[in-house]
């Protein structure tokens, strides 16, 4: 057996290829992780520009900058790009970089497929963005693309949107299959499932969610395609179909999707908080079970997005209580993070700042989610800015903050250099203030009745909208500082040690900084049960 391993080792004494083709042809998990992360950052800025168009128009009541048709395209494209282009690829990028290093594997299990799943994405998003320049404009029916708005009344570019969603789905499914196969088959000898770091656990569960629901999304857009071009009537009431059916199928995908965008964040925060509290994570087992429970519950609560369609009262009650049940495992997690910090020797480097902000602000988003779960109250909140505030609180200071925390936390391992701590903290505080100034006032205007997705509003909402727009520009432009910090860190800086952080635990901190092109070509010896 040792001969086999040595041979295997000898084959891999080469570094990356030279030139541009290195990135096109690469099957290396670190290269592909880098590609995913850069791609998602470009999409983050693209979707962010669209958000700034929206907030600029909403700075004052009345129509100043854009026509309503274009405003609708901006809200739609902003949502689609942020969900499918920024958040999801960022998490896949982190999984590519970290999962093999955390479980002591030499690479992802299916490297060639890994390359395909990344390179599909630029094509998918070029296709989606090209619709902006088409006759009739880009999709304008909201990121939830409810039929018949997205079928009978859609612009002609909807067909390109459908194929773009198909491609994104194929990419996500291939990426997820890769993650599951890697985690189940390539763990270092002796690493049991319950020894895995939580980031690996949360990604394993996320990957199963993706594998289960992305095909349903593919199904629903295929039905749209058939309704538009092949004369079927899945969602057309005149032909015997039902538009409400669209909402059920969409949210059967859509609700697990929102957990797809938050479970890996839980894993990241569960890695960072113990490091900077210099304590072991409180309640590892309960974290794993809570993640699995959230994933299971995500399949049986979808209709809470559609309480106002006219559902039987029994259905409303069921979906209300089932939704509230999710607060239990989520609460377990929040209390575990708090307990981990309790009496720890805490320091507040940039990753920790983002992680602590995550815990607090995500909890605010979770609590407004509980308010929305209350059926009679939801009839008031439905489709208002309160909903916008809710999901931006869980997605921006939730998912996005966790991604930034991860970037700062693992950047020294990836580049071999420490980032600039002062600039990092500046970036954090600008983002923290910006995000709260943007989204907190949206709770107020939502409760006061301002509907979402309109380019204009009643005068009574003017003040808070202006505040919100100011916050959005602070948050948006401070991300350029993030870009600068990352580039500066790649170019040079204080050399990082192998361990990087004083209290960090896990296999990725046992290898050199920067991480060599090939790691764990021979499986590592695990320290005696230190991970669990």
């Amino acid at each position: 057996m040792s001969a086999v391993i040595e041979n295997h080792h000898d084959d891999h004494h080469h570094g990356p290829d030279k030139g541009l083709m290195r990135w096109v042809l690469t099957t290396n998990h670190k290269d592909i992780g880098t590609l995913y992360l850069w791609f998602s950052f470009i999409m983050f800025l693209t979707g962010g520009c669209m958000a700034l168009v929206i907030r600029a128009e909403l700075f004052q009541p009345g129509l100043q900058l854009v026509v309503p048709e274009f405003f609708n395209q901006m809200t739609t494209m902003h949502g689609l790009i942020m969900v499918f282009g920024a958040v999801m690829p960022a998490f896949v990028g982190l999984a590519n970089w970290l999962v093999p290093m955390m479980i002591g594997a030499p690479d992802m299990a299916l490297p060639r497929m890994n390359n395909y799943s990344f390179w599909i994405l630029p094509f998918a998003f070029s296709m989606l963005l090209s619709t902006l320049f088409m006759e009739g404009g880009a999709p304008n029916f909201g990121w939830t693309f409810y039929a018949p708005l997205s079928t009978e009344y859609a612009p002609p570019s909807v067909t390109f949107f459908i194929f773009a969603v198909h491609l994104m789905g194929i990419s996500s499914i291939m990426g997820s299959i890769n993650v599951v196969v890697t985690i189940l088959n390539l763990r270092a000898p002796g690493m049991r499932l319950m020894d895995m770091p939580l980031f690996v656990w949360t990604w394993l569960i996320t990957a199963y969610l993706l594998i289960a629901v992305m095909p349903v999304l593919a199904g629903v857009v295929t039905m749209m395609l058939m309704d538009i071009h092949f004369g079927t009537a899945f969602f057309s009431a005149g032909g015997g179909g039902d538009p409400v059916l669209f909402q059920h199928v969409f949210w059967f995908f859509g609700h697990p999707e929102v957990y797809i965008m938050i479970l890996p964040a839980f894993g990241i925060v569960s890695a960072i908080i113990p490091t900077f509290a210099r304590k072991k994570l409180f309640g590892y087992d309960s974290m794993v079970y809570a993640t699995a429970s959230i994933a299971f519950l995500s399949f049986i609560v979808w209709a809470h997005h559609m309480f106002t369609v006219g559902m039987p009262i029994a259905g409303e009650l069921y979906f209300m209580y089932a939704t509230m049940l999710i607060a239990v495992p989520t609460g377990v997690k929040v209390f575990n993070w708090a307990a981990t910090m309790w009496q720890g020797s805490m320091t507040f480097e940039t990753p920790m700042l983002f992680a602590v902000a995550f815990v607090i602000l995500f909890t605010i988003g979770g609590l407004s989610g509980l308010m929305l779960a209350i059926v009679p109250a939801d009839f008031q909140y439905h489709d208002t800015y309160f909903v916008v505030a809710h999901f931006h609180y869980v997605l921006v200071p939730g998912s996005i903050f966790s991604i930034m925390a991860a970037a700062y936390y693992w950047l020294p391992k990836w580049t071999g250099n420490m980032y600039d701590e002062t600039l990092g903290k500046t970036h954090f505080w600008l983002s923290f203030v910006g995000v709260n100034v943007t989204f907190f006032p949206q709770h107020f205007i939502g409760l006061a009745g301002m509907p979402r997705r309109y380019p204009d509003y009643a005068l009574q909402f003017a003040d808070w909208n202006m505040v919100s727009s100011v916050g959005a520009f602070i948050f948006g432009f401070s991300q350029l500082l993030f870009l600068f910090i990352v580039i500066k860190c790649i170019m040079g800086g204080k050399k990082a040690t192998d361990e990087v952080w004083e209290g960090a635990e896990g296999l990725e901190w046992t290898i050199a900084s920067p991480a060599p092109y090939h790691t764990f070509s021979t499986p590592p010896e695990l320290p005696e049960r230190s991970m669990a």
Binding site: V180, P215, A218, V249
Partner: protein
Amino acid sequence: MSMTNQNRQARTTLKLVGVVLSMFVFGFALVPLYDIYCQVTGANGKTASAYVVPEEGLAVDPDRWVTVQFLTNNNASMPWSFRPEVRSMKVRPGEMNQTTFFASNPTGYTMTAQAIPSVAPFHAAEYMHKTECFCFEQQVLATGEAIDMPLRFIIDPYLPESVQTLTLSYTLFDITDTTASAAAE
């Protein structure tokens, strides 16, 4: 060792591909499942297709009266004139009732329409039995043509006591384009 590992990976991959394919099929299976669910629970106010009166007939409660209201709507840009003969009628559960709806095509071309029914409160939908309804078929009207369309229905005697008024609403859809393309194929 590496060979068996390859096999294990291939097996895991194949299983996951199987899950993907079955979830794609499941997405489409939701369509009939949803229809069955709506039929069983009457959710969405959907009414069933033509009702066959049992041979022994239905028991009529002579003391109970229920108000049935009729509503007509035109979908989006549907230009037809469409209205019920009466806006509301008092009926006894178990008895056969009859009314008509009127439709005319004021446009300069032949059009096809489909009326889609819905009952409110929706849990009463399953007690609305229609033996004859213009909504069971499509209406084709030439320029300026008008039509009286019959509706025969029975309210089930088991209609919950709490329901004293039922609203039967019809939305008229223009399906000229879809039927034309279907005919062309």
